[in-house]
Amino acid sequence: MPVPESILRFEQVVVTYDGVDVLDNVTFTLTAGETRVILGAAGAGKTVLMKTALGLIHPDQGKVSLFNQEITGLREQELFAIRAQVGMLFQESALFDSMTIAENVAYPLFNQAGSQVSREDALARVESILKDVELEHTLDKFPSELSGGMRRRVGIARANVTNPKLVFYDSPTAGLDPITANNIMSLVIKQRDQRNTTTVIVSHRLQDGAMMANYRFNSKTGKIERQVHTAELDQRTKFMVMQKGRIVFEGTEDELHASRDPYVGKFVLQAKSA
């Protein structure tokens, strides 16, 4: 069996704000095609970890490599070429207020390094991906006219419009009602399975992780479907639990449920009661 390609690697990464280690010696490797679920309470450092992975935050110590290229120490202009292969949904969507939905989704097509798209191709692509997230009727609306859930969907479209190999989702379900949250999770899974992207998702809800691990998009029915939880399926999704900047657990869903760590236990318990 060939060794899977390393997509993202953190080596003893430390990020410090005002004397506090917001990321404390974080080490992990993400391989191609893998799904990674990052769980943790508010303030655990999940967002900082994602931004560090994209080179938006420069670590104080340690090394970060994206697609086997070390990005620590690269200049912003050099980072653009690497970031062009990564999509990201920010926590509150971070859509540009001053632009329409179509302009927001088209933004990476026109601005990302090395992207050469004609106006017509861009519009076609924007229309098709907005259709994917069921928002084809909002092209000329502004973000302020949409609900929180709709903005997340636009964010998902913007993160995937360039067909990136790796996509980050920062708390896509935070602050949403359960029905909208499930809808968002289906769209995330659909985007992942249509193009087999390596996916990193941050959440404070264990059930989001369980969905990522156990559901697959079926292109024939156009729906996501629950799979039988085999050992092989279990291996495809890795969970990571963060507490105060440290990774306190890394493993599969089965291992997560078997974990004896008291903090991890709390997460599993809280999800079961919910």
Binding site: L54, F90, A94, D97, Y107, A113, R158
Partner: protein, 251 residues
């Protein structure tokens, strides 16, 4: 010792770094000319009414106040001279810059500040654009170009205000007033009156941008940045005015 200086010096250093980057970006692709034009419209055209109003009233009030003093020397015919030299060299640039600082440094800081706290600036970087290139440079260019224009407008409307008062209340003739206006102005005064807003525009826009993109702490932080941007840029207007006046006085 001098620990208390650490934070302000670091701020000044960051500010200068931002200014250098914004300037360097003028000579580097990509250029966002659409944004420059949009900002010129917002800063220049948008500020026009308030700048004209303030200019007009300043000229009128100055003429009124001066006419009384001039009258005691029997020199009320010279009101045109006084109004024009004061407006062009000092009051016009300072007043216009202060107005624009209040109106646009706050606008810029709150706009960029909201973008910062809602991660739009991070998103911009993630999606392949340099926020300094896309946000700071256009605002800097727009304001540096527009502020001298606004100042000229304020000066002119101020002179008209003074003229109306001179004509209606003091009883000088139109010819006398405008001849005075024209004769007193030297080349250096006009130059001074144009260079000051050039520098002010540069600094006001960058102060607004600086406080905007360094905003932290949510919506509360946006309010804080906005206030700081107005206060700091207003102080800079006075400091720049003092420096440049000193240079021109010794010319």
């Amino acid at each position: 010792m001098f620990q208390f200086l650490k934070a302000p010096v670091a701020t000044l250093q960051d500010f200068c770094l931002l200014a250098a980057k914004a300037l360097a970006n003028i000579f580097r692709a990509p250029h966002y000319w659409d944004d420059v034009l949009a900002q010129m419209d917002r800063i220049g055209v948008g500020s026009l009414p308030i700048v004209m109003l303030t200019g007009g009233f300043s000229g009128a009030v100055m003429a009124l106040q001066m006419s009384k003093a001039l009258d005691t020397y029997g020199a009320s015919s010279q009101v045109g001279q006084i109004v024009s030299i004061t407006l062009v060299a000092q009051l016009g640039p300072v007043l216009t810059s202060l107005l624009v600082a209040g109106r646009n440094a706050s606008g810029i800081a709150s706009e960029l500040g909201s973008m910062k706290v809602t991660e739009q600036i991070d998103a911009m970087r993630a999606l392949g654009t340099d926020p300094v290139q896309k946000l700071v440079t256009p605002r800097m260019l727009a304001m540096t170009i527009m502020l001298p224009f606004l100042t000229v407008v304020a000066d002119f409307v101020g002179m008209v205000g003074g003229w109306l008062v001179a004509l209606g209340l003091i009883g000088t003739t139109t010819a006398m007033y405008w001849t005075g206006v024209y004769e007193i102005l030297e080349y250096e005064d006009v130059l001074q009156g144009l260079i000051k807003p050039l520098f002010n525009g540069f600094v006001i826009s960058l102060v607004g941008c600086y406080y905007g993109i360094t905003t932290t702490g949510g919506t509360q932080g946006v309010g804080r940045s906005t206030t700081q941007a107005v206060v700091v840029s207003s102080v800079w207007v006075f400091v720049i005015n003092l420096f440049l006046t000193q240079i021109f006085v010794n010319l």
